[in-house]
Point group: D2
Chain length 165, copies 4
């Protein structure tokens, strides 16, 4: 992965950005989780890195829900590595508790996808985590950022974008 | 952990902030790591959540280097949970590679500690990760943010602050 | 945890073993899993330690299905640490695949519970993993193996044992 | 990984086993570890799956100490997946404690390597874990067990075997 090194342009030139893939998505995807022993640390609460796994799972399942099978994408030579991650920890979750990982794509600009997260209690009364994650589309073989999203991804996003109007 | 909920003040009032613990630290602490199989994912590179573990290890060992044993602190009733985390992924690390996790406290304001990170190649020519982490001091029994840092921590920080002048 | 040290008896004397809790359980509990990116390693397959997490999750959910809430048990002062684990890896699972973790208690003898595992494809045609795990009931405060199972556990097991006849 | 399926022989015929690689190794390799927060669970002790990571790290570093770079081996098309694992948990390790992971190859028979483990206190007075792990050499491209070990591995093992006499 050689993206974002000084000697290389981080992102393709603006002209390469396909208008179709610049979209906003309104609906939250919900992914339920349960705190298992291996998620916790000495404090009896979820270890702060565990949330990164949960957010990844929610993202993969959200993509599946709109017709994008992440394993297929990888097999076709496209990866979606995380290039930025920020998390705010508001409240902690304890062993045995359930929560909902809520996620949505904030926007897709060219090959860059911004995802927003909230982790809340099942009754949505407690807020545990807020977070943002940015992915880029990477050509696995050439190990370079793609100039545009793979067709399968663009088509899926176009459909959602249309249905959101 | 009930910090940062709407019904509670996030941080103690300014008057409670001890001047002694408002300090800047110039020196980077260096913590070497090696990419082991369990750190990697299907891409043959370090999984993006693995860096969170490495940053925690570097932080604990940095505290040890200035005389603060984290396990002792926890045994005495003080925890230092992460309340904010942000990471930028510049380049990826592959199976078998070595790297240096560099960390330093950017500033300590009251019970809030800001840490800065860089993960670089052993010759410091490649930059893999930049990150920031914020901790707060938490009273484990009352599950509340402390009004000031425990004496052991304040003393250790005062010494470093003095030696940095 | 001080069990199994030379200076201490590993298990309570036979006379302390409650007959009620010596039981066999015939039915497999099924816990579905999906291979997410963080479960994989450089080989594109599930990292061999990931299965230990899945087996723990299946065990906790199996206990829940028979009325034993593991987090409640821990809050009441009883832990169920793993004292023995053995795994045979028959076939590997790849990114995106689904599988079923099948588990059942083989037998409960005193405070010792033996669990059997099979991880199979959703159509049960492929066998990925076979495993066995042994737990003991531990008094968390005294950090000693209990002389008998807590009443809540015994009652739940007695009910299943009866319904298995 | 298609080893150990009914339709395939698990291991190459005896005639394919190279005498040179049937060896016993007497010396323990020592790999020190420190219990970091992310290694622990709600009990304040090391989570039982964490030891699997430590054992993998010790194995990779032991191979490096005898001249086998695991990442190179993988790049050359040979993997060494775990096909059997068994662990006995004698005592638990707590946050902040140090320990030594001791490992040695028990024997190498054909493409099958048996490793023995002990995890002990730094003064060797406490025994935490005993374990055994079996690896096989796998041709990554064909996804089949190799008929013999790669030359680099055989040469390294022959040297050690000779120096053990």
């Amino acid at each position: 992965m050689t993206q974002e090194t000084p000697s290389q342009p981080k992102l393709p030139p603006t002209s390469a950005i396909d208008r179709v893939t610049k979209a906003k998505f309104d609906n939250w995807f919900e992914y339920p989780v349960r705190v298992q022993p291996h998620h916790t640390d000495y404090g009896g609460i979820v270890w702060h890195g565990t949330y990164v796994s949960w957010m990844e799972e929610a993202r993969v399942e959200c993509l599946r829900s709109i017709g994008i099978d992440f394993a297929d994408l990888v097999a076709l030579g496209c990866d979606l590595p995380v290039v930025e991650l920020s998390v705010r920890y508001h409240r902690s979750l304890q062993l045995g508790m359930m929560a909902i990982v809520k996620t949505r794509m904030l926007e897709v600009t060219g090959v860059r996808m911004n995802w927003e997260y909230k982790i809340v209690s099942t009754d949505e009364q407690e807020l545990y985590i807020t977070a943002q994650v940015t992915l880029v589309a990477l050509d696995r073989e050439r190990n370079k950022i793609m100039r545009q999203l793979p067709p399968a991804v663009k088509d899926a996003l176009a459909k959602i974008s249309a249905s959101n109007k």
